[in-house]
C-alpha cells in the first residue's frame, strides 16, 4: 500500500496543501474514537511500532503511545538519555538493528536536526519525526493547525504570530511551513537574539514588540523558553523576558480583538506566559493536547497506507 504521505513524515516543509489537509481531515473521525468507552479501532492490528526517544519527552511520547494503542498497534518504547553517540552506538547501527527486527514504524525524537531523515533514508520502515533538534516537529504543528481550524473554522487568511525562542524551535519551523502552506499569514516575535537569521525569507513578518503582534494577530502560539537560554546569554534574565516578551493579561487587555492562545508545552508559567492567560478563556492549550492524539492517529494510519474515507466511516471494520 502506498501512502498519500510517502514513506516517512519528516516535516511539513515538503508536504503539499492537499497532504496536510488530508491529515487534518483524517484526524476528525479519530477524535471520536478517544471519546468512546472502548477507545480502540483495529486499523493497525498486527503492526509493530517502536517509539525511539533520544530526548526526554513526556507529552509527545505518551500522545504517540495512546495514538498507537487506540489503533491496536503493538508498541515498544525505547528511551535513551543523551544522544546515541554518548550511548556508544551510532544512529546507523540503531537503525540497522531496528530493521533486523522487522518493525513496521519508528517514531523518533532526537536532539540532532536531520536525525529523522537520516533514519528514514536508511530503513524500509515508516519513520515519523517526533522532533529532531531545531529542525521540525510536524505532528505538533499539525495539532496546532487542527486546533486553530476547530476554533476559528479555517486556516486560510488567519493571522498567527509565533512568540518567543524561534531560533531553537522545531515547533516554530513546522508551524511556519504548515500555516503558510494552508494560506495563513504568519509572523514571529521575540528577542532578535532568539530569531534565526534570514527568517523573513521563510515568508513571515517580524514584530519587535509583542504588543504589536497582539494587535495584529488572530492567534498567538507562545513558545516555551528553555531556561538554558539565559545561561547561554541570549537574554539577560527571565524576569526581563517576561516583562518584554511574556504574554500577560495586561498586554492582552489592550488587544482590539480576542486572541486564541496556543502553547506547545510544557509551560513556564510566569515566564513566556502568565498563569491567568494559560488558564483563561482564550487558551486552547488543553484542546491542543486532545487533538494531539487524533492527529497522530491520522498520521500513523495514513503512513500505514490507510484510506482517508475508511477513517471517516468510523474505522470499525477493515
Amino acid at each position: 500500500m502506498t501512502s498519500i504521505l510517502g514513506k516517512d513524515l519528516v516535516g511539513l516543509e515538503h508536504l503539499t496543501r492537499e497532504q496536510i489537509t488530508a491529515i487534518l481531515d483524517t484526524a476528525e473521525p479519530f477524535k471520536e474514537v478517544s471519546e468512546r468507552a472502548i477507545k480502540k479501532v483495529p486499523a493497525l492490528r498486527g503492526k509493530t511500532i517502536v517509539n525511539l526517544f533520544f530526548e526526554a519527552s513526556t507529552r509527545t511520547r505518551i500522545s504517540f503511545e495512546f495514538a498507537e494503542k487506540r489503533l491496536s498497534a503493538d508498541t515498544v518504547n525505547v528511551q535513551s538519555a543523551g544522544s546515541s553517540v554518548s550511548k556508544g552506538e551510532t544512529l546507523v547501527d540503531t537503525a540497522r538493528n531496528l530493521e533486523a527486527m522487522r518493525i513496521d514504524m519508528v517514531v523518533i525524537r532526537h536532539g540532532s536536526s536531520g536525525a529523522a531523515q537520516f533514519l528514514g533514508d536508511r530503513i524500509r520502515s515508516n519513520v515519523i519525526n517526533a522532533g529532531d533538534g531545531k529542525h521540525e516537529h510536524p505532528t505538533q504543528a499539525l495539532l496546532d493547525l487542527l486546533t486553530l481550524r476547530d476554533r476559528l473554522g479555517r486556516i486560510e487568511g488567519l493571522k498567527v504570530c509565533i512568540v518567543g525562542d524561534v531560533l531553537h524551535s522545531r515547533v516554530a519551523r513546522s508551524n511556519i511551513w504548515g500555516l503558510t502552506r494552508l494560506g495563513a499569514e504568519v509572523a514571529v516575535c521575540g528577542p532578535p537574539t532568539l530569531l534565526p537569521s534570514h527568517v523573513e525569507e521563510l515568508g513571515v513578518r517580524v514584530f519587535r514588540r509583542v504588543e504589536e503582534a497582539i494587535e495584529w494577530a488572530d492567534a498567538l502560539n507562545v513558545l516555551r523558553l528553555q531556561l538554558e537560554r539565559m545561561q547561554a546569554g541570549f537574554i539577560p534574565s527571565l524576569r526581563e523576558y517576561n516583562r518584554v516578551f511574556g504574554v500577560t493579561t495586561e498586554k492582552l487587555a489592550r488587544a482590539p480583538k480576542e486572541l486564541l492562545i496556543l502553547h506547545p508545552g510544557p509551560m513556564n508559567r510566569g515566564v513566556e506566559i502568565d498563569s491567568d492567560v494559560a488558564d483563561g478563556e482564550h487558551s486552547v492549550i488543553l484542546p491542543q493536547v486532545t487533538n494531539g492524539v487524533a492527529v497522530r492517529m491520522a498520521v500513523l494510519y495514513l503512513l500505514a497506507g490507510g484510506a482517508p474515507d475508511w477513517a471517516a466511516a468510523g474505522g470499525d471494520a477493515q
Partner: protein, 428 residues
C-alpha cells in the same frame, strides 16, 4: 645519465610566461631544455605528449595526512599517492595529527615518511604553539632545521592576538609563513554550517561569515604591525576577499589560499543533511563563491589549496551535528578548477597553473613550480579535454569522503613526475 624527451605537448609554465606546443628535455631529474624540435638526443626515452598539457607539478600547501595517529583515515604514503594521482608533486602536511607536530623529532618523522613513500615531496608544517594550545610558541628554528616549511595551528584558530603577534615576529627570522585558520571561536561556537537561510531551514547552528572576517582583519592588522608573513588558510567569504585586497594594496605580506569546494559549492549543498557538505569554514553563499572565483582570477587569493581532510566513512555516516568537518580533495582539485574556473573563462589555463603550482612554490619557498632550466623535473601531464568518473572506492586516498562521487569531471592526469621519476601513470 638518464634523458627523457617529451614531444608535442602544450608546455605551460607561467614562471617564464611559457605556453607553447614544444618539446621538453629532462636530464637526471632536472629540466635540461625546452624548445621546438629538440631533436632526438642519444639514449633519450621519448614520451609522446601530443594533446596533453605539460606543466610544473601541482603544489598544495594545505593537506591533512593524519599520520601519526589516525592511520585508519590516511597515511603519509596513501596521502602522497592520492597527491600523485591528482597531479600534485608537493604537499604541505598540517600538524594537527595525534600527537601534533610541534617539535623537531615529529617534523623529522613526517619528512622521513614522505621520503620513504617517494610519491610526492611531503613538506611538514610545524605547530605555532606547543600542543596547538595557543599558549607557548613551539621551537620554530628547530622545526625548520628538521624540514618544516611553515607553521600553523590549523584546526585551531590562534585566538590570542599576542601569540599571533609573537609568531609573526619570530617567524621572520626563518623566512617562513605563519598560516592561520581564521575563525573567531566564540562567534562560531557549535556551528555546523554557514549561517543563513539554509541553516535556518535545516535547524542547524550557523557560523556567520563575520567569524572568519574578524579574524582575517586582525591578522592583516598584525601583519602590518610586525612585517611578518601571514598566510590565510581556506578563505570562504566575500568579506575576507575585500579585506585581503585592501591589505595587498597596502603592500602587506599577506597571502591567501582557497579550496576547490569553496569555489565550487554553496550552502544549499547541505540540504538533506549531506555530511560530505560539512566543512569548516563552511560552504557559503553564491555571492561568496563568486567572490572567491574572482579573487583567484585577479590574484587577491594567491593559490588553490585543497584542505584535503580524510575521514573514515563511519565518521561521516552520522547526524550532521556530530559528523566531522572536511572532505578529501587531492584527486579532484585539478578537475574542479578546470570545470569551475577555466571552462567559464575566469582563469586561463596558464593562470590556473600559477595558482596551483608557481604561486605556492614561490610564496612558500618550495621546490618546483617552474620548468626553468636546471630546476627539478616535477611535472604533471594532463589531458584537459578528457573526462573521468569519480568513484570514491577507487581513489588512492584511504578515505572516500567526497561530495563528487559519481560525477563526471573534466581533466585527466596522465602522469605525474617528481624529480624526473614517474610517481603516477594513468592506467588505461
Amino acid at each position: 645519465m638518464s634523458l627523457q624527451l617529451f614531444r608535442g605537448g602544450r608546455v605551460i609554465d607561467p614562471s617564464q610566461r611559457l605556453d607553447d606546443v614544444t618539446d621538453l628535455l629532462v636530464r637526471d631529474g632536472r629540466i635540461a631544455d625546452t624548445g621546438r624540435d629538440l631533436g632526438n638526443p642519444d639514449g633519450a626515452t621519448i614520451v609522446d605528449a601530443t594533446g596533453l598539457v605539460i606543466a610544473p607539478g601541482l603544489i598544495d600547501v594545505h593537506v591533512h595526512l593524519r599520520e601519526p595517529g589516525q592511520e585508519d583515515r590516511e597515511t603519509i604514503a596513501t596521502g602522497a599517492a592520492s597527491a600523485a594521482a591528482g597531479g600534485f608533486t608537493g604537499i604541505c602536511a598540517m600538524p594537527n595529527t595525534d600527537p601534533v607536530i610541534d617539535n623537531q623529532a615529529a617534523v623529522g618523522f613526517v619528512k622521513a615518511r614522505g621520503v620513504a613513500a617517494a610519491l610526492a615531496r611531503v613538506y611538514p608544517i610545524g605547530c605555532i604553539s606547543l600542543g596547538q594550545r595557543g599558549e607557548q610558541l613551539a621551537e620554530f628554528g628547530e622545526m625548520v632545521a628538521a624540514g618544516a616549511v611553515a607553521v600553523s595551528d590549523d584546526g585551531h584558530p590562534v585566538m590570542s592576538s599576542q601569540l599571533m603577534r609573537t609568531a609573526l615576529e619570530y617567524a621572520k627570522v626563518f623566512g617562513i609563513p605563519v598560516a592561520d585558520h581564521c575563525e573567531d571561536t566564540p562567534l562560531a561556537h557549535g556551528g555546523a554550517m554557514h549561517e543563513g537561510i539554509v541553516s535556518t531551514r535545516l535547524g542547524l547552528k550557523g557560523i556567520p561569515a563575520a567569524a572568519e572576517e574578524i579574524h582575517v582583519a586582525r591578522d592583516c592588522i598584525l601583519a602590518e604591525l610586525t612585517g611578518g608573513h601571514i598566510h590565510l588558510c581556506h578563505m570562504s567569504t566575500r568579506g575576507s576577499v575585500e579585506l585581503i585586497r585592501r591589505a595587498k594594496e597596502k603592500g602587506l605580506s599577506v597571502t591567501a589560499e582557497a579550496a576547490p569546494h569553496h569555489f565550487t559549492l554553496t550552502h544549499e549543498r547541505c540540504e538533506g543533511y549531506d555530511t560530505n557538505a560539512k566543512m569548516n569554514p563552511p560552504l557559503r553563499e553564491a555571492e561568496d563563491r563568486d567572490a572567491i572565483r574572482a579573487a583567484l582570477a585577479d590574484g587577491t587569493i594567491d593559490c588553490i589549496a585543497t584542505d584535503h581532510a580524510p575521514h573514515h566513512y563511519d565518521a561521516k555516516e552520522r547526524e550532521f551535528d556530530d559528523a566531522p568537518n572536511g572532505i578529501i580533495g587531492l584527486e579532484t582539485a585539478l578537475s574542479l578548477a578546470l570545470r569551475e574556473l577555466v571552462a567559464p573563462g575566469l582563469l586561463s589555463l596558464s593562470t590556473l597553473i600559477d595558482r596551483m603550482s608557481c604561486a605556492p612554490a614561490r610564496l612558500w619557498h618550495l621546490d618546483g613550480g617552474s620548468l626553468r632550466r636546471g630546476g627539478v623535473a616535477d611535472l604533471v601531464l594532463f589531458d584537459p579535454a578528457g573526462s573521468w568518473t569519480v568513484d570514491p572506492a577507487r581513489l588512492r586516498s584511504r578515505s572516500r569522503n567526497t561530495p563528487w562521487g559519481g560525477e563526471v569531471l573534466p581533466g585527466v592526469v596522465h602522469a605525474t613526475m617528481v624529480g624526473g621519476r614517474t610517481v603516477h601513470q594513468r592506467t588505461p
